[in-house]
Amino acid sequence: MLQQRLIAPFRVLERAIGPTLRSTQSIPRSSPSIIPRSIISASAPAFSNRLFPLSQVRHASHASQGTANRHSRDPAGKRLGAKRSGGEYVVPGCIIFRQRGTKWFPGENCAMGRDHTIYATEAGYVRYYLNPELHSERKYIGVCFEKDGKLPTPRNAPSRRKLNRVAVPRIETVPAPIAGQSDLVASIEDGVKVSSVEAVNAESGSQLRPGYMYREANWQIGRAAEKAGITAKQYSRNNRWLAWRKRKARAERAAQMKSLKNKKKASKGKGGR
C-alpha cells in the first residue's frame, strides 16, 4: 500500500523525463522502465545519482584496481604447440610438441612426458603422420632415421633400431675387500692425519682420535659383536612361537608402564587434593 503510493509520483516523473533520457542514451537499458525495483525501495540521493549519470566520476585509483575475473577471461599464453616442424633434425630428449592432453601421440622413436609433451628418443628427422593400422583416429609424431624416410613403417616389417653404443675395453669392477681404514678425517698436530694412518694400524687397536682420545674406530666398535661371535637369530616369518613370545613380552611391558602411569596420576591427584 505504502509502496504503491510512493511509486505513483515517480511514474509521473518518468513519463515527463523519459523521452529526453532515451534520446541522450546515457543509460543503456533493455527494459522499458528506467527505475529498477531496488531503487524504488532505496533512498532518495541514490535515486538522483542514477538519474543523472553525467555527474558520476570513476577516479584513476578506482579503475586501476582492475576488473573482476579478468584472469579467467584472458590468462597468459602457455606457449604450447609445435617446437619442431616436420623434417627437422632432432636429438634424443629434444622436445617436439607441447600440448594439453594428447592432441598428438608419440609414434616411432618418440615418447610422451609427464605433461603429455612429445620428445624424441633417437636422433633423426621429425614426421607428423597418421597410422590407420594402429589406430583410426590418432595423430602421431615420430622420428625417422633417414632424411627422406617415411613413417609409419609397415606393420609386419622388422622394427628399425639403432645400437647407439661404442665398444670399449671392459674394466673389471671387482668389489675390493673392504680394508680396515679409519673413518675420520681430522688433522692433528705435527701434520699426521687420522685418515693417513695405514689400514693395518687402524685395525690394530686404539688410535688418537679427534678430541685427543685414544680409542678404537667407530666401525670397529660396531663390529664388536661380530668379533665376539655373538649372532642374532635370523628373523623368520614363520616362527610364530617367537612372535607370540615377543608379542606377549610387549603386552606385559605395556601393561607395566600403564600401571606405573596410573600410580603416578593417582599420587598426583592425591597430592592436589
Partner: protein, 419 residues
Amino acid sequence: MAHCERAAKPLLQCLQKSYTKGLPGLQVQATRAFQTTAIAREEAQTETKSQPFHKSPDPALVSSPRLERRLLRQGISPIGSRRRRAALETSPNIPFEQLPYQCFQEARNILQADREEKLKDIVTIREKIARLEAVPTEQAGGLQVKNSKLVAMNLHLDHLKVLADVNDPLVKKKFEDGQGDMSKPIYRYLADKKWREYRRKILVQRITQMKVIPDVLPHCDPVVDTKLYFGRTATQPGEFVNSRVSATTPKLDVQLFERGEKLVTIAVVDSDIPNVEKDGFDYRTHYLAVNVPISATSTKVDLSKLSSESQVVLPWMAPTAQKGSPYHRLSVFIMEQKDAKPLNVADIKAKETDRSKTLRTLQARYHLKAIGAHLFRTQWDETMEEVMRENGYSDVDMELRRKRVEPLPYKRRNPSTFR
C-alpha cells in the same frame, strides 16, 4: 528324534524302497556306503591297516599342505584340487548312478538322452561321408566342390564328437585330474580351451609387446602349447634366464591339439646381437632342427637328444649377452613343415651353415608355417663371462658404452618476434 536323523529319514526311505526293487548287490553297497564310509576307502584301509594315513597319504584324499609336500617329495602329485580332496575325505563316495537325489538323476537322464542323440548323429554323418566318398568326382560337381563338402562334413563330425562328451561329469573330472587321454577329441578340446583361456594370452602378449613378432617373423598364430624347460624348471615366456642355466640344451614340451602327427622345424633365434660397425642389430640362430615328429600324445622334445644326423642342423649354442648390450630376446619357434613331408637334411646342412641368417629366409625357402612360439631373455650376469669364454666368444673383453649425443647448436629462432 535328533535333527540329523529327521533330515536323513527321506533318504533312508528312498534307499529302502530301491533296495526292494533294484539290484541287490549294488544296493547293499550303497546302503553300507550311506551308513558308514566309502567302500573304496575301506578297502584301502584294510590293505594298509598297519600304516596310519599320515605315514602313507593317499594322493586322491590328502588335503593338508604338509602331507601334500611329502607326497610331492616322493614324486607323486596330489589329484585334483585341495578343496575336492578335502570333500572326498569325508564323503561316502557313492557312484553317480546310485546317488539318491531325484532331480539329479533326472538331469543325468536328460544328459544321457542328449548323448545318445549325438551318437546317432555321428553315425549318420559318417554314413554320409562314406556315401560322398563313393560318388565319382564328376557326379559330385568337381573336385573342389567335393573336397569342400568333405572338409565341412568332417569338421561337423569332429564337433559332434566333442558335443557327445562335453557334458559328462566323469570326463570333466578326469580332465581336471590330469588323467585325460589326449588321443580322444574331447580331452584335446578341453585342453585347448584351457590353454587359450590364459597361457596362450600371456604368450601372445609377450611376443607382441617385446616385438618378437615383427622382428623375427612377420606373423605367428600359436596353435600348439609350448613349454620350455632348462633342467627340470619350466621357463615362463619372456623370463630372464641365467647364462649358466641356459648354456645347457633345453627341453621342449609341445602339446598339439589336433589329430595326427606333424613334422616340425624347431628354431631358436637371438634377434639382438649388437653390431657396432652397422650401429644396429644382427640375428643369430642358436639352434635349428628339422623333421621333429610331434603329436597330441607324444609331446616331449629333448633338443639335446634329437639325432645329429637326421634332425639337428645347427646344434645348441649358449646364448650370451655382451656387457652393456640391451637384453637379448631368444625366441623359440615351432614351425610346421608343408604337408608333413620330411625335409632333406643333408641339403639343409650344406646350405644352412651360416648362423646369422634370418628366420624369414628360412621360412620362405622351406615353406614353413609358425604354429608355436616361446620366448626367454638373457642379459649380462655374473656367470656370463665364464660362459662366453667356454664357448669361445671373442667379445668378452669388450664392453658397450652409450655414445655421447651431440646437443643441437643453439639457434636464435626468428629474433624479430622476441622483445
